[in-house]
Point group: C2
Chain length 155, copies 2
C-alpha cells in the first residue's frame, strides 16, 4: 500500500525530503508541531522543553515502563514564523548520530487542507543512508496518520 507520507532521497546525497498532505487547516498542523501537549499525543514522547521562538530549545524523551530513558533528543529553533515555517536542529542523544538540520514548511492548500514539507540535511551521505535503513519512513507515516486523526477528532 502506498504511504501518504512521501520520502524522497536521491542516491549519493546527504539530504532527504518528506511531504505529506493533511485534511487539516495549516494552523492546526503547525500547532501539532509546536504545542507540547499535542506533540506528546501524536509523537508518543514526553516534551521536557519546547520554546516556540527563535533560539528556543526543545527536548523530547521516552522512558520505558521501568523508568529508563530509551530515547532522548534535543535541538533549537531558527527562523520561526507562525503557521509558515521553522528550522530546527535535531540531536539524538547517545546514538553516535551527528546533529542534523531540519527545515519545516507549512503550506495552505485550502481552508481545510495543507501540506507539510520537511527537508533534512545530514553530516554525511552515510548517516542519511543509515537512517533510511531503519523503519523511519513507516514510523513517520504512522505518526502523521495519528496526528491527522487526533486533530480531526478535536475539530
Amino acid at each position: 500500500m502506498e504511504l501518504k507520507t512521501k520520502v524522497h532521497a536521491e542516491d549519493g546525497k546527504q539530504e532527504l525530503t518528506i511531504e505529506r498532505e493533511f485534511d487539516l487547516p495549516v494552523s492546526l498542523v503547525f500547532k501539532a508541531h509546536t504545542e507540547p501537549d499535542l506533540i506528546e499525543q501524536w509523537m508518543g514522547n514526553k516534551v521536557l522543553k519546547f520554546e516556540a521562538k527563535n533560539h528556543g530549545g526543545w527536548i523530547y524523551e521516552i522512558k520505558n515502563p521501568d523508568g529508563i530513558v530509551v530515547f532522548r533528543a534535543n535541538g533549537v529553533l531558527h527562523d520561526f514564523v507562525e503557521n509558515e515555517r521553522f528550522t530546527r536542529t535535531f540531536e539524538m542523544e547517545n546514538t553516535g548520530f551527528a546533529v542534523q538540520l531540519e527545515f519545516f514548511e507549512f503550506q495552505k492548500v485550502s481552508e481545510s487542507k495543507s501540506k507539510l514539507k520537511m527537508h533534512i540535511i545530514y553530516k554525511s551521505v552515510e548517516q542519511r543512508d543509515q537512517v533510511l535503513k531503519m523503519p523511519f519512513i513507516q514510523g513517520i507515516n504512522m505518526a502523521h496518520t495519528k496526528m491527522e486523526q487526533l486533530l480531526k477528532d478535536k475539530d
Copy 2:
C-alpha cells in the same frame, strides 16, 4: 601563493571542509573561537552574545562608520566540548541564505601545534556554490592568519 587554510569542496555536494594548522596550542585556538574579546579581535565583528555551552546562542554584528548594520549573523551551539569540538548553526541575516550547520573540531598536533577542521553543510548545492563564488576562502585564510599572529603576540 598557496593559502594555509585549505578548503575542500567536491562538485555537486552540499558541503565543504576547511582545514588549517596553527603554530598554537589547541587550547588557544579553542579560546579564539569561544571568547568574545578574542573573537572580536581576529574576526573583526562585535560579539553581542556568545554563550559557550550546549544550546547557547551567539550573535555577531558589524556596523559601518555611520552606525548602519552591514553584517549580522546568529546561531546556537550543540555538542560543546571544551578544547575538542562544537557544532553550531549559522544564520546570516537578511541575505536569503538558509541556516547552515557547522561542525568544528580542534585537534592537538603537539604541545605547540594544532589543527582546526570545519565541516559546513548547506541547504543545497546551489547555496554552497554561491558561497564559493564570494571571496570566502581568501577571507577565512586572512582571518586565520590574523588570529595566529594575535595569539602569538599574546603568548
